[in-house]
């Protein structure tokens, strides 16, 4: 029966052997050292000598252990390729944080289907961004516009195709496989700027309907981020006042909340008129916002209605 000194000796010796085998993959080391302690206890129980005196240095013991055990891998009946692949995976997972990594790795195949759906959505989003110039791009397209409806339908079709493609698995041909990986990475990379542009709100588009305020319960407007005010000028360069602006849906155009205070005129019906430009605004300190200096484009003298169309004049 080992006394407490022996127990310490056993624990110390076992720890040193484990440390010497730290380079082995976790699973292999554990299956090798499973009952090392109880085995060492048997050895220790035989005499009063320390384990190091009886068995030699822990590092030497570890080396003898692996040489006796290691021969196994060469004679085992696991196919050589699979064995090396397992060993590589074990090394990678040991490098990347063992348990946490193995959990993630076990979970990865389940994430694949999610990526198949996501990539279809992103691909249509990228195409919409390219063809519609990013205007009115929203995470979920508006089904009541033709473009939005088209985008939704295209997304559904793309998801079906993408999942079918994904379930087929990777192409066996090396070149095709590289192409497939390239396309996936490309979609992911291209989607980034599109998503970012949507996130910053530079093309954000939204409806406003505040039912809590009776005055505004009927009000509905298009709120745009990216500008705080609009300064309209007439063709001859005169600044205009109280120009009412509406978007393609007939909704008043109003800048999204931006930190400035806007003094909105109130109509005869008591409702605020939010889209009369330029807006009268004050900043956080109450200082009125000064209109910017603008460089107005010089207009060409307009042709008289009776003249025949002439080719553009080129200046010498």
């Amino acid at each position: 029966m080992p006394n407490s000194n022996q127990a310490n000796d056993i624990a110390r010796y076992a720890a040193a052997v484990r440390a010497a085998l730290a380079s082995l993959p976790d699973a292999e080391r554990e299956s090798l050292l499973e009952d090392l302690e109880s085995h060492l206890a048997e050895v220790a129980g035989e005499s009063d000598q320390s384990l190091e005196e009886r068995l030699g240095k822990p590092a030497t013991y570890a080396a003898e252990l692996t040489s006796a055990y290691g021969a196994a891998s060469e004679t085992g009946n696991v196919p050589r390729g699979a064995r090396y692949r397992d060993r590589l995976w074990a090394l990678v997972s040991a490098a990347l944080g063992t348990h946490a990594y193995s959990e993630v790795r076990a979970f990865l195949p389940e994430l694949r289907a999610g990526w198949w759906v996501l990539r279809a959505y992103l691909l249509v989003l990228i195409l919409a961004f390219m063809f519609r110039g990013g205007l009115n791009l929203r995470p979920i397209p508006d089904p009541f516009t033709s473009g939005g409806l088209l985008q939704i339908l295209a997304t559904l079709v793309a998801i079906v195709l993408s999942v079918r493609l994904g379930r087929r698995g990777m192409p066996a041909n090396r070149g095709w496989r590289a192409a497939a990986i390239g396309v996936n990475v490309g979609v992911a990379l291209l989607a980034l700027p599109v998503l970012v542009s949507m996130g910053t709100g530079s093309t954000y588009y939204g409806y406003y309907a505040d039912s809590s305020d009776p005055n505004l319960s009927q009000a509905s407007a298009s709120y745009y981020a990216g500008f705080t005010n609009i300064y309209p000028y007439s063709k001859d360069g005169q600044p205009l006042k109280d120009v009412l602006l509406y978007d393609q849906d007939g909704l008043p155009i109003v800048p999204a909340a931006n930190g400035l205070t806007t003094d909105v005129p109130v109509g005869a019906d008591g409702l605020p008129i939010q889209n009369a430009y330029p807006l009268t605004q004050r900043d956080q300190n109450g200082v009125p916002v000064v209109p910017p200096r603008v460089a107005l484009p010089p207009w060409q003298p307009s042709p008289s209605p009776s003249s025949t169309p002439t080719p553009p004049i080129t200046t010498p």
Binding site: L32, E42, E64, G70, A71
Partner: protein, 119 residues
């Protein structure tokens, strides 16, 4: 045993036959690690190292030729016993034949040499 100026490295010999020796010991009766070592040494294989026996047992177990079970012990920790399973027994039979033909070939060689020397 040492030949003139050219000793046979017993540990090298052992390496090749340790599997067979361990299987043979376990064929006699199931044993735990330290008991296997003791019985190997009692049989005259006193150069065998503790770590080699332990590593070999783990390997043979992993290779699926040994069964293993834990027996509670009144004195000290529980003991893990190893024994041959069907695959282990057929592996032992196979290895015994291989060993037989190997030793008889070597015996033949050595005997021929010794009779030649005697002449």
């Amino acid at each position: 045993m040492a030949l003139n100026g050219n000793p046979i490295d017993t540990s090298q010999l052992l390496k090749g036959v340790l599997d067979l020796a361990v299987l043979a010991v376990l064929a006699e009766r199931d044993s735990y690690g330290y008991d296997v070592l003791r019985r190997l040494r009692e049989s005259g294989l006193d150069a065998v190292g503790d770590a080699s026996v332990y590593g070999t047992l783990r390997r043979l177990y992993q290779a699926g030729v040994l069964k293993s079970y834990v027996v509670p012990s009144d004195e000290g920790p529980h003991r893990k016993y190893y024994g041959l399973n069907d695959r282990g027994r057929s592996a032992l039979d196979q290895s015994t034949k291989t060993w037989g033909s190997f030793t008889s070939a070597l015996d033949h060689l050595l005997n021929g040499r010794s009779t030649a020397n005697a002449k």
